[in-house]
């Protein structure tokens, strides 16, 4: 008798615990910034779906800064909402449904793995605009994609790394073996080689966008293997921590960490999502939103380079600035030939360039990259 009473108490207790936890989570993730229902008349509702926490100090923080820029620019004409820590799985479909039900007219999803659910929702709700960062171009008329030519900035940060290395070995802590990441590593390696032709970029795959422990371990093992500059393509600053502990230089990715990592910081490829978000939300307000596959670049100000650290010398800074200007002017193409792959096969001849389609499906490493493009 006593036992069954205890069991009942346990069940009730664990349900209660579960419920509390759930409520907390809702509080944490369901953060409607302007008041939910008392919205000003005519305000357009816009929503963002993030794969990580807004405090990750990298990818998601950058997107959330973009959302804040929208609020800043459009004031009470817009009402923004965000959902953070949404896993790339079946959950996202329910999150999108909720957002549509809440009356959001434009929904931005900021991780590759949200693609399938976004596509399904776009087909189901033709009156809502869907936008997918890093997504695959498609033919659904209310489903756009957007991203930036990070390779341009990565080439430039590679130049800083090439000038900084003394051992001639640069370690790259890479997330997943997908075209986007391979393209970035290649651009980085080409930047390295432009100032230091014999330097090698060694790649270790983490197989996650965000696994700080493994990212740090990967950086440490690269350093132990002789790398004296560390680069990363994932979302956490953990490789920078490893670099800091070992006193070697670091080029980050998609966030400016120059303050917290002053001793080791070189620079980083960064994205500024704000202007694009503002433009898209504005077009929904004006009623002239049109589907597109936006690919921003340095010339647009969509991608850029974070401030240089003290380890970058004046000569290198000048070289990088000059190269950046050439990219802006359109006189320099990061993937302009001659470009060889690891086996020495020519991928682009002198005077030609790797074409855009090939760049978007890249599955090979350029010469001078030490690693397996199929992952590991």
């Amino acid at each position: 008798m006593k036992r069954s009473a205890a069991l009942a108490a346990l069940l009730a207790g664990s349900l209660l615990l579960g419920a509390c936890g759930k409520a907390d989570e809702d509080k944490a993730t369901d953060d409607t910034t302007n008041s939910a229902d008392g919205a000003a008349d005519g305000a357009v509702k816009a929503a963002w779906i993030y794969v990580g926490p807004t405090t990750d100090g990298g990818w998601t923080t950058a997107h959330d800064n973009g959302r804040k820029a929208v609020e800043e620019a459009l004031g009470d004409k817009v009402e923004t909402t965000f959902k953070e820590n949404i896993p790339e799985g079946p959950e996202v479909a329910a999150v999108i449904e909720d957002l549509v039900k809440d009356g959001n007219k434009i929904i931005f999803a900021t991780s590759f793995g949200f693609g399938d659910a976004m596509k399904a929702a776009a087909e189901k709700h033709p009156d809502v605009k869907f936008e997918h960062a890093t997504g695959i171009p498609n033919d659904i008329k209310n489903f756009g994609t957007y991203f930036g030519a990070g390779e341009e900035s990565l080439y430039l940060s590679g130049m800083a790394a090439g000038a900084a290395t003394k051992t001639g070995t640069i370690g790259f802590v890479a997330p997943f073996p997908i075209p986007e990441v391979i393209r970035h590593i290649n651009a980085y390696a080409l930047g390295v080689q432009s100032v230091n032709p014999d330097a090698v970029v060694k790649v270790v795959w983490v197989n996650s966008w965000f696994d700080p422990t493994v990212e740090r371990q990967s950086a440490e093992s690269l350093i132990a293997g002789g790398a004296d500059v560390i680069a990363n393509g994932g979302d956490s600053p953990a490789p920078g921590e490893a670099a800091k502990a070992a006193g070697v230089a670091w080029t980050g990715y998609d966030s400016d960490q120059s303050k917290d990592f002053a001793e080791v910081w070189l620079t980083a490829a960064i994205y500024d999502w704000g202007p694009y978000y503002t433009k898209q939300v504005q077009s929904v307000i004006d009623g002239d939103w049109a589907k597109g596959d936006y690919y921003g670049n340095i010339a647009d100000g969509f991608t850029d380079l974070a401030p240089f650290g003290s380890r970058v010398d004046a000569d290198t800074k000048a070289k990088i600035e000059a190269k950046k200007q050439e990219i802006i002017d359109g006189t320099f193409n990061v993937f302009g030939g001659p470009i060889m792959d690891q086996a020495g096969t020519e991928k682009a001849a002198e005077g030609e360039a790797v074409d855009f389609g090939e760049q978007m499906s890249m599955a090979w490493f350029v010469k001078g990259v030490d690693g397996n493009p199929e992952g590991n």
């Binding site: 405090t55 422990t213 992952g375």
Partner: protein, 318 residues
């Protein structure tokens, strides 16, 4: 010499094994009293978030802040342990379910993330446990990087391994604790307060888990990250079995698992082409194997599991 593959792996085994060791040692003490606490992962996350918060907000000399961080981490995790203790010792509910609930509450459902959110934890911890150069011996061949170039937490864990082994097997209180875990009825009739013993050791186990969490947020990933312990709490629970409920053997297991965790990136960086998915799953694979072996009652007894582990104690049922 010291960049030799084996030495690099040994050094990282100790570094990454340290939080496992703390958490597993705490669980050894808890389980020795007959309480199974599957909430280790959740308690670690509570410890990690508390340590991160204190590190970024407390002011004062660095060493003092770090001590406060550890105390805060221990306190936060002990609060989690207290929920479990109350549920399973006082209310006598199923220990497995209560422990799971604790991990879900603190980790999966997001209490730790919620706290991190309202505390706005996003910068690297201001005060961290850095690697020390003990007696200036960090470059000593072989032993230098493994033994003399670790963080203060590693040295603290060594002291605690010795202390808790001594406590368990050489003191009267330790004997009482083991008696409670083996046969609470007998212990009760000998005049040992079963409830108090179980409460104390569940809370102490929580405190150890808190330090383990702080090892993540102040050393390994010195920035708060949701779910940063990524399953280490479960490995710690398996380690208790692996170490036959003895702190000294648990230490061996912790470093073995630490080595397995670091193996994937290390081998990749050396150009060894073994799929990293295989290497990364090794610690969990070993965990599953250990749990399967231990699932039979007779094996458990032979390997030294406390006989009353997981069984609520009710006086009137004598």
């Amino acid at each position: 010499m010291n960049s030799n593959l084996f030495i690099v792996i040994a050094a990282s085994a100790v570094f990454y094994g340290t939080p496992l060791l703390f958490a597993a040692m705490g669980e050894v003490l808890t389980e020795r009293s007959g309480v199974l606490n599957l909430g280790v992962e959740g308690m670690m996350l509570l410890g990690a978030v508390a340590a991160s918060y204190i590190s970024n907000t407390a002011s004062g000399p660095g060493w003092l802040v770090l001590v406060l961080c550890l105390l805060g981490a221990m306190g936060a995790a002990a609060c989690g342990a207290l929920i479990h203790a109350f549920a399973v010792i006082t209310l006598r509910v199923n220990q497995t379910v209560s422990g799971l609930a604790l991990t879900i509450l603190a980790g999966g459902a997001g209490l730790s993330s919620y706290l991190a959110n309202i505390w706005e934890l996003k910068d690297p911890a201001t005060h961290q446990f850095g690697k020390l150069d003990v007696f200036g011996l960090k470059d000593l061949p072989i032993l230098g990087p493994v033994i003399f170039h670790q963080t203060m937490l590693t040295y603290l864990s060594w002291v605690l391994v010795v202390a808790s082994t001594w406590y368990l097997f050489r003191t009267r209180a330790g004997l009482g604790l083991r008696a409670v875990g083996e046969s609470p009825q007998t212990a009760d009739s000998m005049g040992i307060n079963v409830v108090r013993t179980r409460y104390t050791h569940t809370l102490v186990g929580g405190m150890f888990a808190g330090i383990a969490g702080a090892a993540y947020s102040l050393t390994i990933v010195p920035t708060w990250v949701d779910g940063m312990t990524s399953g280490a709490g479960w490995i710690a629970i398996a380690l208790v079995i692996f170490g036959f409920w003895r702190p000294d053997l648990t230490m061996v297991g912790a470093y073995l698992f630490g080595a397995l965790q670091g193996l994937a990136p290390t081998l990749q960086a050396r150009g060894v082409d073994i799929p990293s998915a295989v290497l990364k799953s090794l610690p969990y694979l070993v965990t599953v194997v250990v749990l399967v072996i231990m699932s039979s009652g007779s094996a458990k007894r032979r390997l030294g599991a406390p006989a009353a582990l997981g069984i609520p104690y009710e006086r009137e049922e004598r």
